[in-house]
């Protein structure tokens, strides 16, 4: 891959330092959503890593997704994913999002997040703890940094 020029480097740097996220509930029981909110609010405060919750997928780099994908949300999830600008990342928060969890094989559930969109990081746990969410975010950003460095060297 070609080396990045200074502008691309600046864009990548800023993306790494301030990824914007969108939170989508694809059929969670709300347990994981509460943990996502906990991670966002001052007690755990992902904003200190520059993350910012956005209301629209068009502004977001990371899709934070909870719950097993139901048949009703399947197309909506796809549409939200398609609206996000490249490059985009998906965090599957909670066991349901990773594999379908206890809802797997239910008649109205399509399965885990990866049955519909490609997933960058899986965060297991029922519900996933806020520390685990933060850990996944930091790991995602670190691996991004590594791959960008690898391109340059």
């Amino acid at each position: 891959m070609a080396k990045r020029n200074i502008i691309e480097k600046a864009i990548d740097w800023s993306r790494r330092k301030s990824p914007w996220i969108i939170h989508f509930n694809a059929g969670a029981c709300n347990g994981c959503d509460i943990e996502v909110v906990d991670a966002l609010t001052p007690r755990y405060d992902v904003e200190r890593f520059g993350m910012l919750l956005k209301g629209t997928p068009r502004h977001a780099d990371v899709l934070v997704c909870t719950g097993a994908v139901t048949l009703q949300t399947r197309d909506r999830l796809k549409r939200i994913y398609e609206q996000m600008p490249e490059p985009k990342f998906v965090l599957a928060v909670g066991t349901c999002a990773c594999s379908g969890g206890i809802f797997e094989d239910c008649y109205c559930v399509s399965g885990g997040m990866d049955t519909v969109v490609p997933v960058s990081a899986y965060i297991p746990g029922c519900a996933a703890r806020p520390e685990a969410i933060l850990d996944a975010v930091v790991k995602l950003l670190t691996s991004l940094e590594k791959s960008q460095k690898a391109i340059d060297n």
């Binding site: 139901t70 048949l71 009703q72 094989d105 239910c106 008649y107 109205c108 399509s110």
Partner: protein
């Protein structure tokens, strides 16, 4: 207080003899009743016995027949649950919308999940809670519905023809 309830129910409707069960203090259940017997009891419970709060209703496929269980409370800790029984081939029930307008989404669930026909629901309500494009006439909470015959990709239900 709940003894009075049982007493007045029995005095008014002798056919409830041995059909009233008090599982524990303040939880009274009636055995399933056919609609001719059910609706007078239902009205009496609300108008005369003061169980004026509609808590929720539950549909049930018992195998041979279909049941609707109405959970009514008196505004306190006491609950009275009359049950309506209908034939499986013709599961038509009357909506309680005129009394309790919050019944709509419970009754829509009966329609979608168990295939009840609810008469008297307002026009123009969406289907709920099954996804858009769900195959008509396929009701996943019925005992004879099997998830193996349901195709999630095409949203079609194809049971083998000998069933």
């Amino acid at each position: 207080m709940t003894d009075n309830v049982q007493g007045s129910l029995l005095a008014k409707f002798p056919y409830l003899e041995s059909k009233i069960k008090e599982q524990r203090q303040g939880r009274i259940f009636l055995d399933p009743l056919q609609k001719e017997q059910f609706w007078p009891v239902f009205d009496y419970i609300i108008d005369e016995l003061g169980y004026k709060d509609f808590h929720m209703l539950v549909g049930r496929d018992s195998g041979e027949t279909m049941h609707v269980i109405y959970l009514l409370t008196d505004g306190g800790a006491n609950m009275l649950c009359p049950k309506l029984e209908v034939e499986k081939e013709n599961p038509v029930i009357r909506s309680i919308y005129s009394r309790f307008s919050n019944c709509t989404w419970h009754e829509l669930e009966l329609v979608d999940l168990l295939g009840f026909v609810v008469e008297g629901l307002p026009e123009g309500l969406p289907n709920y809670p099954l996804p858009d494009g769900w195959p008509k006439g396929s009701h996943p909470l019925r005992k004879d519905w099997k998830v193996e015959y349901f195709n999630k990709e095409t949203l079609t239900y194809n049971p083998p023809s000998d069933i």
